[in-house]
């Protein structure tokens, strides 16, 4: 049978890279939000990487060659953001703080993902008594005020105050415990849904062992929503870290720069008209959380074809898609018409009929 095969439509490599694909896909306000979020995130990450170069002083430095910085100095040429009550340079601490923040995000999210995904897959796929116990335990964790839990854990892990890694691990660990139920629930629900899909049944009929079904068929399909939860959780991680620091369970100023701690120390300054010690760390938190949230929300909207914006088309424009398959002409028709245009999605939610 002689068949002319057309090249694969619209699936170049650059469309497959996660974020690049979404940027190309978006239009209008959604694209603006996503690009703004990504740029802000880039600034945040660059700050963390190049902190030693960018920051004029060390995070725990109180004096340089020309003598001590002085406490609560207003912004000046030497200290653009002023100095704190402890005599640290505010600008330097804001910049160094990005490193702590990024560490906490990475540790917390990685730990929570590994544990949450593994338990969720097991629970969802095999079910049984362990599943029931895990669901009850994680529901109980949900009922706990998360900040209270984080405080208890940071006391347990590090006795309250500690050095950089102790503090980071304490904050990250407490955040992990709060986040595991989220990953667990999402993955478990997805797994239960995917378990009933025909392709999992078809693997069962073929005699595939459970290990192979779980990792090859269930796992990869269940984790599609994770990037969204990761971005949303990252911003929550920063807020929890800041809250811990603010409440006095953060990291010693000599161990690392931490925005929440600085805010805590700036409390009494605010009433005496010293605005710079609180404003800049606060802005840094807002900036970072906003960046991650913008990216997360945009990805969320773009992932849903109903929320995704599209350019309006000119009246009666476009080609009639090759959607039908004529007897005798099937193979030349190319990959399924309208169905091939949207990745596996149909217009069904709009009530328009296309081939599934």
């Amino acid at each position: 049978m002689a068949v002319a095969v057309s090249s694969r439509p619209g699936h170049r490599w650059r469309d497959r890279i996660p974020v690049v694909h979404q940027v190309r896909q978006s239009v209008g306000l959604q694209r603006g939000m996503l690009v703004a979020g990504l740029l802000m995130l880039l600034v945040f990450v660059l700050c963390a990487i190049f902190a030693p170069l960018l920051a004029p002083y060390g995070f725990a430095q109180r004096a340089d060659a020309s003598g001590g910085f002085g406490t609560q100095q207003p912004p000046s040429a030497a200290h653009p953001f002023g100095t704190t009550v402890g005599g640290y340079d505010v600008l330097s601490r804001v910049i160094w703080g990005t490193q702590t923040a990024i560490l906490v995000i990475i540790v917390a999210v990685v730990l929570a993902i590994f544990i949450g995904v593994a338990l969720g897959l097991y629970s969802g796929y095999f079910g049984g008594w362990l599943d029931r116990i895990l669901v009850v335990v994680f529901d109980a964790i949900y009922a706990f005020p998360s900040l209270l839990l984080a405080i208890v854990l940071s006391i347990v892990i590090s006795g309250g105050q500690s050095n950089l890694w102790g503090g980071v691990l304490a904050a990250a660990g407490s955040i992990t415990v709060v986040f595991i139920p989220q990953y667990f629930r999402v993955i478990r629900a997805e797994t239960v849904r995917i378990k009933a899909e025909a392709y999992v049944e078809s693997a069962k009929v073929l005699g595939a062992p459970n290990r192979r079904i779980v990792f090859r068929h269930v796992f990869r399909n269940a984790t599609r929503t994770l990037p969204l939860i990761i971005t949303l959780n990252s911003s929550e991680a920063i807020l929890t870290l800041a809250a811990l620091g603010f409440l006095g369970f953060g990291i010693e100023p000599t161990a690392a720069a931490e925005w929440g701690y600085d805010l805590n120390k700036a409390q009494s300054d605010v009433t005496s008209g010293i605005w710079w010690t609180a404003l800049f760390p606060g802005l840094a938190i807002v900036f970072t959380v906003l960046a991650i949230t913008l990216v997360g929300e945009s990805l969320n909207d773009l992932a849903d074809p109903r929320l995704r914006g599209r350019r309006r088309v000119a009246q009666a424009a476009g080609e009639v898609a090759e959607t039908s398959v004529v007897p005798g002409g099937t193979l030349d028709a190319g990959p399924g018409g309208l169905a091939g245009l949207e990745d596996g999605e149909t217009f069904d939610e709009h009530g328009i009929e296309v081939k599934r």
Partner: protein
Amino acid sequence: MSTVVDIRNLGVSFSTDAGAVKAVDDVSLSVERGEVLAIVGESGSGKTVTAKTILGLLPETATTSGAVVLSNRAGTGEHDVISLTGAQLRGIRGTDVAMVFQEPSTALNPVYTVGWQIMEGLRAHGQVSKADARKRAIEILGRVGIPDPEHRVDHYPHQFSGGQKQRIVIAMALVLEPGLIVADEPTTALDVTVQAEILDLLRRVRDEFGTAIVLITHNMGVVADLADRVAVMYQGKVVEEAPARELFADPKADYTKALLAAVPYVGHGVARAAERAAARPADWAEQTPVVEARGLEIEYPGRFGRAGFRAVDGVDLVIRPGEVLGLVGESGSGKTTIGRAIAGLTRVTGGSLKVLGHEMLGIRERRFRPTRSRIGFVFQDPASSFNPLLTIAECVAEPLVIHDRAVDARDARPRVNELLEAVQLPASYGDRYPHELSGGQRQRASLARAIALEPELLIADEPTSALDVSVQARVLELFAELQREFGFASLFISHDLAVVDLLADRIAVLYHGRLVEEGTGAEVLGAPADPYTQRLLASLPVPDPVAQAERREELRRLREEAAR
């Protein structure tokens, strides 16, 4: 006669991620009062979009050109639906034009009584007192054939059967006496015996209420049964428009001819089955059956002490090597359950089921697993039976890798290419992802996966019911070819008698979990003994208006007999 709706040069485009897509291209149609116009076409031909335009139900991503002029029932006012805005559209919906949806169980709101839902439409269009609205709701329910309407008007949707729900949806459409009803695949979700009743009702709607109907369907039998005039759509254009009898007797367009030729008829498979039976060796009947069920019972467990649901009840059946057994039944008859039990996906709870020498009652998965390489399974929905993240070649290679015939997908590729060629897909399609293939192509890839290990038994669970009729014809042909070539025994499950007839050596008819009739195609379809089989056969609409009119009479006679 006057025109109810006049569609002039309609064009509809959608904006998608891949740019503009035109769904309807320069379509002109008109419907007269009291006429049934059927719009026929395959998925994506633009038939539903055309119909939805009449009600102004297109999503925001659509842009339209042309005109859809709708007159009211009295013929005194005209509106161009395309230029109307929200409030004006609401004014004509229900009173001038109404819609009957495909799936009656989702078209009704489960938390309100059906009476309330009918009255909602009445109250939306003018001041009607509650008592008045209720009276009219009861009246309309009676007229669409709901027994005891005074009492049932206060029932909730789940208390009605599927066919009754569709009657209620039709009653909702009729209650404001619109001049036109748009029925989008009104019988596709229903069983064939129920379909016949709904078609009767729609015919009565036309005759008694004088309502024009735009009938959207892909089923040529339904068209032959109901339509006065037929418009065939293909790729957004109307390729042919003619009175029903003329179109079936003498189709003009090539596409229409191909479409009609692809429709399976009952009775076409008999000769083929007889030929195959003659070619069998003499001792064939004595060979050990591949599948043997004796008094098979399958029960789904009930919740919290409630009795379980018995899906299969005392079924005896035998599939011998190289034989195709067609299993026919309506939804809920237990046909899929039997297929899944044979594949080891559902537990057998009673009786005996022997599959390739293994007793399935109480078998452990570990012991059955090696046998799985001898069984192939083709699923109903080609869209969901492939892992969306694997390429077709990787999917087809799965059975080879699992049963150690290949190290990985790359190693299996030569064999995969052979298999793809066997199902008439070019080998290069192996690099595509499932969503890049059409439904028919995917189902062929699914067949390739099922025959990868050259199984002795292939279970096909409604493999063509999700496909368009012309695609279905080719997949069935391919199935028959593969069966000849590989000689596997097969359980072919379908709700469509004509499809089963094409392929099966023997046909078994299931009804409410029991086997009511079994025999060769000639026996079961030629001279059905069981009243249910007779009804099933008579309900199946044939794509020929003249023959269908006779069959309708036959069905009416059977029903009267059953009522007596």
